[in-house]
Amino acid sequence: MIELYILLALMIVGALAAVEMKNLLSAVIAVGVVGLGLSIVFLLLKAPDIALTQLVVEIVAVIILIRATLNMKNADDWLGPRPLGAVMGAVFMALTVWMGIVVFRSLPSFGNPLMLVSQRYLENSAADTGAANVVAAIILDYRAYDTLGEATVLFTAVVGVLTVMRRKGVKSHGDPQ
């Protein structure tokens, strides 16, 4: 699995570049690199459904971010650093990686998952639901409540965006509250 480690290293370098670059458009392109690398990693981990979804969703995210940064005045990151925040951030990074090394030893090792419920789903999917794609059978037949919850969250987000972007309600009052 040497390709997996090379791609993970590329993603970490891309994420650091996205966080530290001054020009916002270049930073958005670096976030795009992280997303595309993630899609290839999903394909290497034998999850083609997820790779397809991650690819198209990441394209939409980059489009929306470019809309927020292109041709906006005062948008570049030329501001000074926050020293207290940078120190807190570095301490958090070190703490997370150290705790990760300690705690992840007790997970099942990489490559041998405990498949207690999934074994039953894999064996009975063709007979119970008649679908060949086991992931689609899980999200739409065995665990359809979660899909209903996701549809609700997406609906709420769309309503939220349409509400925030309204022009009339703010200007007619005259002063902010």
Binding site: P48, D49, L52, T53, V56, V57, I59, V60, I63, I64, R67, L70, N71, M72, K73, A126, D128, T129, G130, A131, A132, N133, V135, A136, A137, I139, L140, D141, A144, Y145, T147, L148, A151, L154, F155, A157, V158, V161, L162, M165, R167
Partner: protein, 151 residues
């Protein structure tokens, strides 16, 4: 840079290529949704691809023309239709035995018409996700186009 301008849109080359390829992108999205129970894909990926094909049209031909053709109310109505369809499939399961029970026959595996209510749920999710994302895109891109000229 005339990417988000109010008149026109992009250059002639982009408009010609868009006219030729946007139908193929839409067809690909429909294929992924309909074969969601046989091969990787499903409602989410197909819905986002269909929304991307409409976004391609808006970006290539300019914002004003798109808002003339597609009213914002139509897009939000389509999203509500998708949500109601998904809930309707869930409630119709009451005829079989409970919430979300499958009320169509399972069929034989590996055929296009099989899998109970899974293809219908895929179509409902596709309409909902596609219309929702296109609604977000129209709101962010087109309806805020007038304050950015002072650069």
């Amino acid at each position: 840079m005339a990417i988000h301008s109010d008149e026109g849109g992009m250059t002639l080359v982009v408009k010609t290529v868009t006219r030729l390829t946007v139908g193929l992108i839409f067809l690909y999205g429909v294929y992924i949704v309909l074969n969601g129970h046989l091969s990787p894909g499903g409602g989410f990926a197909g819905g986002v691809i269909i929304a991307l094909s409409f976004m391609n049209l808006v970006l290539a031909f300019g914002g004003k023309k798109a808002v003339e053709i597609v009213k914002k109310n139509a897009v939000t109505a389509m999203e509500s239709i998708g949500a109601i369809l998904f809930l309707g499939i869930a409630l119709l399961g009451f005829t079989e035995g409970g919430f979300f029970r499958s009320f169509l026959s399972q069929g034989e595996t590996f055929k296009l018409i099989s899998g109970g209510t899974i293809p219908l749920s895929n179509i409902a999710i596709c309409i909902k996700v596609g219309a929702g994302l296109f609604g977000i895109f129209l709101t962010l891109m087109v309806l805020m186009g007038s304050e950015r000229k002072e650069k």
